[in-house]
Symmetry: C2
Subunit: 117 residues, 2 copies
DNA sequence: CTCTTCTACAACCATTTGGTTGTAGGTTAG
DNA sequence: CTAACCTACAACCAAATGGTTGTAGAAGAG
């Protein structure tokens, strides 16, 4: 897997897509099972078209892909997507917590005990 | 620090706040050094009031806090904020990547889960 | 005290977002 | 073939976003 640099716009789209409870729920559902858009739409108190738009936002952010299966379009969450988001967070953290030397270790080891001054 | 559960609205605010390049840059700058709002405003091609609004968004999301210092208001990023965002991502990942065994190992290795229900 | 600086906040405006309905095009079932 | 189903997309609307300017209040500097 290639470690692609994420542009500002890509990070914008990523976090924007994640900033909505319905879209996060779609990610969860389509992570467990690939679902068609209309199957998804049954789960939410909104129109089919609205769900279609949410899926489009997720797709533009690279969080899901669609695959034609007959007359249905199956949505499935990209397993690498979470890594992209995590990497974006890590880059931010590396920059903004640079003054706390401890963060370097935190990044390598991901997380450890977080309480000492 | 207690591991607080993040409400849907809190996660919304978190990711929404992160979905803007100017705000991410503010986080970086105020991670290296606490800066007053007007000092920050000098760095961006927009008005003081606009920067003030960005800081307010970050503050509502819990990513920064403001501390009065004389007539200035120093902004500094909350070192725990990145952990909150990371935890939100981890919870999402745990739910949506449950079917991919590989991810479980990654999560365990990346973050020692310190909860017992 | 007076002047300047820093901040807060209201009012306003253009654009985007999140929702709706409606229409049209493919694809499968009978 | 015809009917039913799934999807794509346009047009529209209310509300939120991201920006502006302007006014007013606190706090330091001189």
């Amino acid at each position: 897997m290639v470690v692609e640099e994420l542009s500002d716009e890509a990070v914008d789209r990523l976090f924007h897509a994640l900033a909505d409870a319905t879209r996060r729920d779609i990610l969860r559902r389509c992570g467990r099972d690939d679902l068609s858009v209309s199957r998804l739409a049954e789960a939410y108190p909104m129109s089919f078209a609205a769900v279609q738009k949410h899926v489009a936002v997720l797709e533009r952010a690279g969080l899901v892909t669609k695959e034609r299966r007959g007359r249905e379009q199956l949505v499935h969450t990209d397993p690498e997507a979470v890594e992209k988001a995590r990497r974006a967070l890590d880059e931010l953290a590396a920059a903004w917590l640079g003054r706390i030397g401890r963060m370097a270790a935190l990044l390598e080891q991901a997380q450890e005990e977080t309480e000492d001054p």
